[in-house]
Symmetry: none
Subunit: 247 residues, 2 copies
Amino acid sequence: MEQAGEELMERRSGVALWRQVADRIRLGISNGTLGDGSKLPPEITLSQQFGVNRHTVRAAISALVQEGVLRAEQGRGTFIESRKRLSYPITTRTRFSTGLKDQTRARRVALLRHTIEPASGRVAEALRLEPGAPVLRLETVSEADGRCVSCGTSWFDATRFPAFADVFAETESVTASFARFGVDDYVRRSTLVSARHADADDLDHLKLSPGAIVLVTIAINDDLEGRPIQFSQTHFSADLVELAIET
Amino acid sequence: MEQAGEELMERRSGVALWRQVADRIRLGISNGTLGDGSKLPPEITLSQQFGVNRHTVRAAISALVQEGVLRAEQGRGTFIESRKRLSYPITTRTRFSTGLKDQTRARRVALLRHTIEPASGRVAEALRLEPGAPVLRLETVSEADGRCVSCGTSWFDATRFPAFADVFAETESVTASFARFGVDDYVRRSTLVSARHADADDLDHLKLSPGAIVLVTIAINDDLEGRPIQFSQTHFSADLVELAIET
DNA sequence: AAGGATTTGTACGTATGTATG
DNA sequence: ACATACATACGTACAAATCCT
């Protein structure tokens, strides 16, 4: 079998070869075409398959180990640390959404930062406020079973919900915080879903390696009178999460 | 203003600085935080903003010009050749979904392949058939304004919908084809959304370059009696499409 | 129990690409 | 266009852990 490698990698693309190899390995894992599902082929085999040096494969594997996707054991092989993707429900009635409750043991939401700022055009439009009106901006990271699954920024009308950040820090839940302000129920008005490469902030917050993908949701929640109360942009680690649309 | 750059670029990440800058410019364009929407700030300003050398910004811009995202004019500036992302609606009532109709001039769906095959476990479960029952598998690519936006595979009960493929080839529409079989309306029962790197087939069908991202939807449609009639997996080019969830 | 085969980990040297000034 | 510094990619060799006969 003198079958030379496939030469599918791009050499002067601004993306290092080892990163491209890492992406291919991630892909091979997610669609099950690489290895037997639990163990990766040896480095030599991979390097021939991808037409690169073994060191390049090693750099790729090392990044994926760092990320928790793989586990390497000297003399034995490289193994896939697979966990099922968490299914994050997107429902109309946010209140009745159990979120990830049933699928994880430990779920935590950390409050990264909160500031009062004047509403930018986009935020003002979403919350139906005057541009420049004071809004609370709340940045959070949520993790499940010790893995960072999403990071997000939300904006609230600072006049209607004073000291919302303190309440949130205590309850660790937007729903519970709204309840303190007399908003017992609210609905998801609109949701946009897109996907892109993780940016520097995502890499930091979600502990990803470059080239990783995030699912981006941009959503507006209304109270039951139809007034917008929350505008949010959330980035989910695409390797860990899928969105379940419940229509 | 001695405000030094933000140092947000990562230096040892396997992604060349100029490519990271290119990605940030693309992001800045898509959310409108860069320039005035049609013209980019001068290279010097950008290099200060990103904390990199002007040469690096120039490399980034040159790549984006190559890609058709920007247009540089000597002495005048760098301009944005942007098209908005297509917004693909995900609604309960598929029938009333206008799809991309309002957003594009020319929308075409090409039938790539169709075969009758025994239902695999996953397909059988989704369509509530016996495993091995004959199902029609239909592979399509759809393009809008000359750009390939999605490719997908759908499965239908071959017994209930004989010669569905021929009808589809004629009508180029699943909804219209169902109507020929007396199914005038149907609903989207469940939709899973995830994201991953494009695989070899995606690159081929959607004319993407390696490293590109696809949004993956896995959906089941029911007729009005609640019987599943279509199981589909669709890959959208994430650079061109966002999904608008209408709950 | 011993030894060879397999597989991951480490070290060096060289050439090319990338980023800055 | 040039010079410098660092990152990336390849090649080779060998060490360390594990597996199999």
